[in-house]
Symmetry: C2
């Protein structure tokens, strides 16, 4: 079943996709259907705002990413940015640029993913824009969140002797991408009907295709009475993000290879691909884990937190940013993270 988008038109498509959306947050006063959404935040809250632009062929490849997953991920990466400020996401606007290649059913799938993410994270869709595009799919989401006044956590607050922590494990999303790319290549040359074999690698795929934002960690920190001194989410890779925190906080850091959290499947896949797993954990992007620093006084509290790993500490700026390997060597950290502007710009004549 394929319904052409042109049969609905711009307003018709928006109406169709946003049908039945109900506003759940008290701060969402008026959603879709006017020149602007109206939000009402109480006096004790600051408002957080983040935005993300995703372009087909640059940020996602629809040959292996299902549209519903893409929708889910597009929303979640924005929520992740709000959590990384110590906040709670509340509203999003969704703008889509859609070429004729896509049907109404495609957009339903994409929107189903966005709506699912919003339900799971308690976020309201309050507006957006849908338009045609000459080529491919464009997704632009802006997310508004809230944080207790004065409690936002920036990248620039890390202090000497602070502890460096990360949530979850790293490198799996990158491994998932490698896996999908490999299967795409393999399927190109193979007989029709053969399905890729992802057995035993489900976690890697899930990390790449359906990442989650670490709301749970932010809540745990709050409950434990820990206010991180600096925090950000890991979208471009641990190295790159650590350098952001250290540069903006004007400090250095030491992190320890042996403490970097890895999943078993990540390690196995790295070996299969003949890649250094630490390099993947340092530079692979899209993990959407939280990287944060806490005062050394919180050492005990943070050590006891499930899903949080202590990977190093903040130093004087003169000492730079370095990784201490298992055999005690020191390597300067470099940002080799995923950079679409440098790596992927080869599509246009």
């Amino acid at each position: 079943m394929r319904t052409e988008i042109a049969t609905l038109g711009e307003f018709g498509l928006i109406r169709h996709l946003t049908e039945g959306i109900e506003l759940k947050n008290e701060s969402s006063r008026y959603g879709i259907g006017d020149d602007a959404a109206v939000l009402s935040y109480p006096a004790g809250k600051d408002v957080l705002m983040t935005t993300d632009l995703l372009l087909e062929g640059v940020h996602f490849d629809l040959t292996y990413v299902p549209l519903k997953h893409l929708g889910y991920k597009s929303a979640v990466v924005n929520f992740s940015d709000i959590y990384a400020m110590n906040g709670t996401p509340r509203q999003i606007t969704v703008s889509l640029g859609v070429s004729k290649r896509f049907s109404v059913e495609d957009m339903e799938a994409l929107y189903a993913g966005i709506r699912l993410a919003c339900e799971e994270y308690g976020v309201d869709i309050v507006g957006g824009d849908t338009t045609s595009s000459l080529t491919g799919l464009t997704i632009s989401i802006t997310c508004i969140g809230e944080v207790e006044k004065g409690k936002a956590v920036y990248r620039n607050g890390a202090q000497e002797t602070d502890l460096v922590c990360v949530s979850g494990d790293l490198g799996a999303a990158y491994m998932g991408l490698q896996l999908l790319e490999r299967e795409k290549m393999a399927l190109k040359d193979s007989v029709e009907g053969i399905q890729p074999d992802f057995a035993g690698k489900e976690y890697l795929l899930e990390r790449q295709l359906k990442p989650e934002a670490r709301r749970d960690i932010v809540e745990k920190l709050r409950k434990a009475g820990i206010q991180p001194t600096a925090m950000m989410d890991i979208s471009d890779g641990l190295s790159s993000e650590l350098l952001h925190i250290c540069t903006q906080s004007k400090v250095g850091c030491r992190i320890y290879e042996e403490h970097i959290p890895l999943d078993y499947q990540t390690a196995v896949m790295a070996e299969e691909l003949n890649l250094n797993v630490t390099t993947c954990a340092l530079n692979g992007g899209e993990d959407y884990e939280l990287l944060f620093t806490v005062p050394i006084a919180d050492h005990e509290k943070v050590s006891e937190m499930e899903g949080v790993k202590l990977i190093g500490h903040i130093t004087k700026p003169e000492l730079g940013c370095a990784l201490i390997t298992r055999d005690g060597q020191e390597f300067e950290l470099k940002a080799q993270g995923w950079n679409p502007l440098r790596e992927k710009e080869n599509g246009e004549a």
Copy 2:
């Protein structure tokens, strides 16, 4: 002089373009450089949020739109949506998707326009995203504004016997577009070096290339103590917007051809092109004037307002929405406004 964007990379380009940006609004607590911007609105204000996605080849044609003008307009159309809610724009985020065709200097020009608009309207750039694109230029801007609690003006509040008003004049932006398209065609076939002749048509070009948002009207209404019952900005055409207000307010309307405000240049150009000027005023988009309704009790006040024209009145829903022509005939209003999803989707194979 042409500097390739790849020489700066994603972070480098953002840094370069946003250099020297200072936050001027008290509500802008933290701008570019973290996972999210931090805004702080006082208890007496509601927050407005609007977003707009502009794609090359669909919403703009760079063969005749200078990048600086495009930047200015991209920002202003968002401000216009905030004013149309009776609010004041305060912050924007700017996301750009840029193909290799564009240089750093091109992006400087685009950003110069955005920054100029922000300066003129007192808006802070607090964030954004810059990435490569495989083809063309993508601009996604989200604007946050404020309005006194409970004073937002929606589309759904028009009441029977209310007066229908518009600011400025209509159809000129559409005429400007026709003019640019005509010159583009003419220049294709002509000798090199010949410049298009826009003498006497400057107003039309300005309306198309450098529209302004009607902050002044919103301020005048406030000063006069008039709270419109419904309001929106005219981006798709008067007919289309009137139908939005009437549908959402569950009312009908009568507007009078003789009262629709037209500029002299618009009328001349329409004649030149053999177009009905009323049709252009009704269906030509991008005027960014304000369309609003006020209680009949405000008749005197609103009649005295400079730059505001009373064009008709709201009726019972059963009477539908109609235009009364100069010779007294009644025509049902139809939305033939500019709809990129229906009209322009012919670029992709």
